[in-house]
Symmetry: C2
Subunit: 131 residues, 2 copies
């Protein structure tokens, strides 16, 4: 009764789902981020790969490099028994948190400026229309 088959994905399925190229996905494997199993030649991706891909792409959107993401994943997985490594990871996490905080400020300020620019645009357009 208990299903033991885990969901799998082909490379192009993942590519479509996350809107990236297959080339990019293979590239992430090269960088040690993904490690799909194989069916003969073909790559088979499991749920774990899917999550890692998702996290990687999210990281990218907020400015993490692939190397940074990979490092985090790596520490997260193989650091359970090494205190030094755990502390290194805590430091890394703090560092990232600080960056995110700064980014939030930057985003707020940028949004205000975009809004100001938008209003200036609209005013200028009105002026033109009244000519």
């Amino acid at each position: 009764m208990t299903e033991t088959t885990t969901k799998t994905y082909t490379i192009s399925e993942l590519a479509k789902e996350f809107n990236v190229t297959t080339r990019a996905i293979r590239f992430y494997e090269d960088k040690g981020i993904l490690s799909p199993s194989r069916d003969g030649q073909k790559r088979i991706y499991g749920p774990r790969d899917r999550i890692l891909l998702k996290l990687t792409l999210r990281g990218k959107r907020i400015g993490f490099t692939l190397a940074e993401s990979q490092k985090l994943f790596d520490m997260y997985q193989h650091g359970e028994d090494n205190k030094d490594q755990l502390n290194t990871m805590l430091a890394t996490l703090d560092e990232k948190d600080a960056l995110l905080a700064q980014q939030k400020l930057d985003i707020e300020e940028m949004e205000a400026e975009l809004q100001a620019a938008r209003e200036r645009c609209l005013t200028a357009i009105k002026k033109i229309d009244n000519t």
Copy 2:
């Protein structure tokens, strides 16, 4: 009584203030973002250059390319009379706003994950300490 002298900066002053290299600042000039005046050979930066530099760096922190920042600045300055250009700019602003909204979500989720990772770290360290 009314002072008309505007504050000016040397390249290294700006570099120090914003913690970037002089090379980077000259690079931004190459890209058309800054346009300092000269005192003989030497570059003289005014308040306007300073602001543009600040905005550029802020943009960078949230993932804007230099070309994108430059394009925004350019539209902001020379678009007052061209309706098409104003509308293009409005579209660009909307696009950027959408990206910023996505980034906010990404940051929230990433912070949650970093927090979870941090707690896992701390737990693991405790376990080690109790060994």
